[in-house]
């Protein structure tokens, strides 16, 4: 690019930056063309200014003409991601080796200046808690950050805002992490304080051990060279750690570290069974681990060497063994304890806790079919069935089961509770007649009723037949064997409807008992008469002879 053009562009961009800075916040609410143009120019400037610090960026400058919001943002993102990571690395390096910071001549856009600021603060006040200074610094930073935020605009898509936020984020990281992350903390609440209080509490819990180690460490410090290093490291730790809170705590922690380091180093040289398979050791190492973790969180700059050593102390193997041991203990304990009620076989309600059966997924056989879920389809199908049944007339009525009576029902003899109208003689007379002559049907009480009923029915039938002019079809004659006694028809049960006849039931030929061809007196011929007389005479003679024989 042409430097003159660049310079002019930079000037315009700067102008636009200032313009953006000066605009009131409400103006950002409405999209304005000139504001967006200004913002684009400003972002371009910033992009190009940051370019030299990220070698990996594919773009020389931010391309804004004809590009969508998303695309512009993507470009910024592409540049800023590696930039952020590199910045982080740089910050860490500076944390470890603060003397290098002074070597820095050119910082980034305000970034170097800020770093310097931070370093100064670190060197000046460490042990003593200067919250106010922190707050002031924080406040300044906050204001700057906020301004930048505003400048970069909350309208549209905050593309630049992201970038600035990221820059701010890096700046924050360059500071001690103890410095706030904006907004949450204030005079009263400090998360760092909270964390350190927790550590202190835990230290109090495991108080004895720490004190011991501290004492040991203090003794040992006087002796070895490592102590000297430790002292340096201590100082560095102190310096690099947070400004906050109790120095004692820090010393304790540091002492703890040192003492432990001492112990660990000794023990590593003389490794024993107890190191690997003793409880006490593990406990203390656990405690160390806890406190260690917390401090690591607090300060980004711990003695890495010490940390490494501590990590080696409870080795992986030991950790595994610890886990195993704990598991074994658990299982043994479980075995010794009385079993859970679910494992006990038959358990009544009194032997288990109240409502404990509700928590367990019980499985038992249901002998009852589950109630059908009533859905619309079910009801529709039922209704269809009902309709078809009604249309067909096919009802499942209960059929009366006929008791197949092979014999006629016995006549229940009713006790007549009134004075009998017949005399005793008549009673016995009837009884006698029944015995001797079965044909003479004596009417019992029920028979009389039957007779009365049949009489009524006959009268009714007569009237009905009169309605149809006596046209009726008689019953079909069913031929079957029946004995006919030669009794006048009147005496028998009346079956003929109308006619009353005196005729006997038997036909003449059935009555007649004789042989041959019967002839009337007038019909006989002379010869036949003579024959008849001759027969008669012969019979008479035979009889007479018989009688004579008797007498004699």
């Amino acid at each position: 690019m042409i430097p003159s053009a660049m310079a002019s562009s930079t000037e315009t961009a700067l102008e636009s930056l200032h313009h953006i800075k000066s605009t009131e916040p409400p103006e950002w609410l409405v999209p304005k063309q000139e504001l967006s143009q200004a913002v684009r120019a400003a972002s371009k400037l910033l992009f190009s200014s940051l370019k030299p610090y990220c070698p990996k960026s594919p773009f020389d400058q931010l391309l804004t003409e004809g590009f969508d919001v998303e695309q512009i943002w993507q470009q910024i993102d592409l540049q800023s991601q590696p930039l952020l990571s590199s910045l982080r690395r740089e910050v860490k390096k500076f944390e470890k080796h603060p003397e290098e910071i002074s070597k820095l001549k050119d910082g980034g856009v305000g970034g170097g200046e800020k770093k310097k600021k931070v370093l100064e603060q670190i060197e000046t006040d460490n042990v003593v808690n200067d919250d106010e200074d922190d707050d002031d610094m924080d406040m300044d930073e906050d204001e700057d950050d906020e301004e930048e935020e505003d400048e970069e605009g909350e309208e549209e898509e905050d593309e630049e805002g992201e970038e600035e936020e990221k820059e701010r984020g890096t700046e924050e990281e360059s500071e001690n992490e103890g410095e706030e992350k904006g907004g949450i903390e204030d005079k009263f609440l400090k998360i760092k304080e909270l964390q350190e209080y927790l550590e202190e509490d835990e230290a109090r819990e495991f108080g004895l051990k720490k004190k011991k180690t501290k004492a040991e460490s203090k003794k040992e410090e006087e002796d070895t060279e490592e102590e000297g290093d430790d002292d340096d490291e201590e100082d560095e730790n102190e310096g690099s750690e947070d400004d906050d809170d109790e120095a004692e705590e820090e010393e304790d922690e540091l002492g703890l570290f040192d003492g432990n380091d001492e112990e660990d180093e000794d023990d590593l040289e003389n490794a024993r069974y107890e190191d690997f398979f003793s409880r006490k050791k593990n406990k203390s190492s656990k405690e160390k681990a806890k406190s260690r973790d917390m401090l690591e969180e607090d300060s980004g700059s711990d003695d890495e060497q010490d940390v490494d050593k501590r990590k080696d102390g409870p080795s992986k193997h030991e950790k595994e063994l610890d886990k195993l041991r704990s598991k074994i203990e658990e299982m043994e304990k479980a075995n010794l304890d009385p079993k859970v009620w679910t494992m006990r076989g038959e358990v009544t309600a009194a032997q288990r806790q109240k409502n404990s059966a509700l928590e367990v997924d019980l499985d038992f056989e249901h002998n009852v079919r589950p109630a059908p879920v009533i859905t619309e389809e079910v009801t529709a199908s039922l209704e269809d069935l009902i309709k078809t049944r009604i249309s067909e007339g096919l009802f499942d009525d209960v059929q009366k089961a006929r008791t197949s009576s092979s014999k006629a029902p016995r006549e229940i003899k009713e006790l007549d509770e009134s004075k009998s109208k017949k005399g005793l003689a008549e009673v016995y007379e009837e009884e006698f007649f029944q015995k001797t002559d079965p044909a003479s049907a004596l009417l019992t009480f029920s028979d009389e009723l039957k007779k009365e009923a049949s009489m009524l029915f006959k009268k009714l039938c007569l009237k009905l037949d009169a309605l149809s002019h006596f046209h009726f079809t008689p019953k079909p004659v069913v031929e079957d064997m029946s004995i006919q006694t030669n009794v006048p028809a009147l005496a028998m049960e009346e079956i003929a409807p109308m006619a009353v006849s005196d005729a006997a039931m038997l036909a003449p030929e059935e009555v007649f008992s004789g042989k041959g061809d019967i002839k009337e007196e007038a019909e006989l011929t002379k010869a036949e008469r003579k024959r008849r007389r001759a027969n008669k005479k012969r019979k008479f003679k035979a009889e007479a002879a018989k009688r004579m024989g008797k007498k004699a």
Binding site: L415, D416, K419, L424, A425, E426, Y428
Partner: protein, 215 residues
């Protein structure tokens, strides 16, 4: 009539015994050496007026059909019966006497007539105290139980067993054939002893059904 002396058995002979003599049956008036036979039946005072009322109903069958002379001795308050010459059977007199006796006990004439017509009818009498000793209220209640309301229990027994019953205070008279009398007597005894009428009825029903089935 020929009277043949029976050859004495003390004659031990070698010749065979003579044939048995044949006698024709004695007529009624020849019995007791041709003398007439009497029966006398005393009349209790409570049957006096019924006797007067039904006299002709009693007199006619006795005189006409049984051929027995019958008269009422007013002074002695007795009914006297006497055989006649043409009385066919000596048992007629006894039957008539039984008939009159039955009337005196309290039976109605149509019922008592059965005695004349049928041979195997009997009259049996017994007292309540024979069955169970009851006094005062219990006795009265027992009598009430026997009769039933309006006499329905008595009639029920009569109809089902073909007997006739007369309950005269503490005396009970039964008229009927032997088996029927037995059944009636059992029912009456159970009533005296205290069983309820319903129970007696059910038993009667069973028994009568069984009796009827026999034919």
């Amino acid at each position: 009539m020929e009277i043949e002396t029976v050859p004495s058995e003390s004659k031990p002979e070698s010749n065979p015994l003579p044939p048995k003599p044949k006698f024709e049956p004695l007529k009624a008036h020849e019995m007791s050496d041709g003398r007439v036979q009497f029966r006398k039946v005393s009349v209790p005072p409570h049957r006096y007026s019924p006797l007067k009322k039904y006299w002709m109903d009693i007199y006619t069958p006795v005189y006409e059909q049984m051929k027995i002379d019958i008269r009422m001795n007013l002074k002695a308050r007795k009914v006297e019966l006497k055989t006649r010459q043409d009385t066919p059977d000596i048992s007629n007199l006894q039957k008539c006497a039984d008939f009159v006796q039955a009337f005196m006990l309290g039976f109605d004439v149509p019922d008592a007539i059965a005695l004349l017509r049928l041979d195997e009818l009997y009259v049996e009498s017994f007292e309540i105290k024979d069955v169970k000793t009851l006094r005062g209220e219990h006795l009265s209640r027992a009598i009430g139980r026997l009769s039933g309301k309006g006499g329905k229990t008595k009639f029920a027994i009569e109809n089902s067993t073909k007997t006739r019953i007369v309950i005269a205070d503490t005396k009970i008279h039964l008229l009927g054939s032997f088996a029927n009398i037995k059944i009636a007597r059992d029912s009456l005894c159970s009533l005296i002893l205290g069983s309820p009428a319903g129970k007696v009825y059910s038993k009667l029903r069973q028994v009568s059904a069984r009796l009827a089935e026999r034919f």
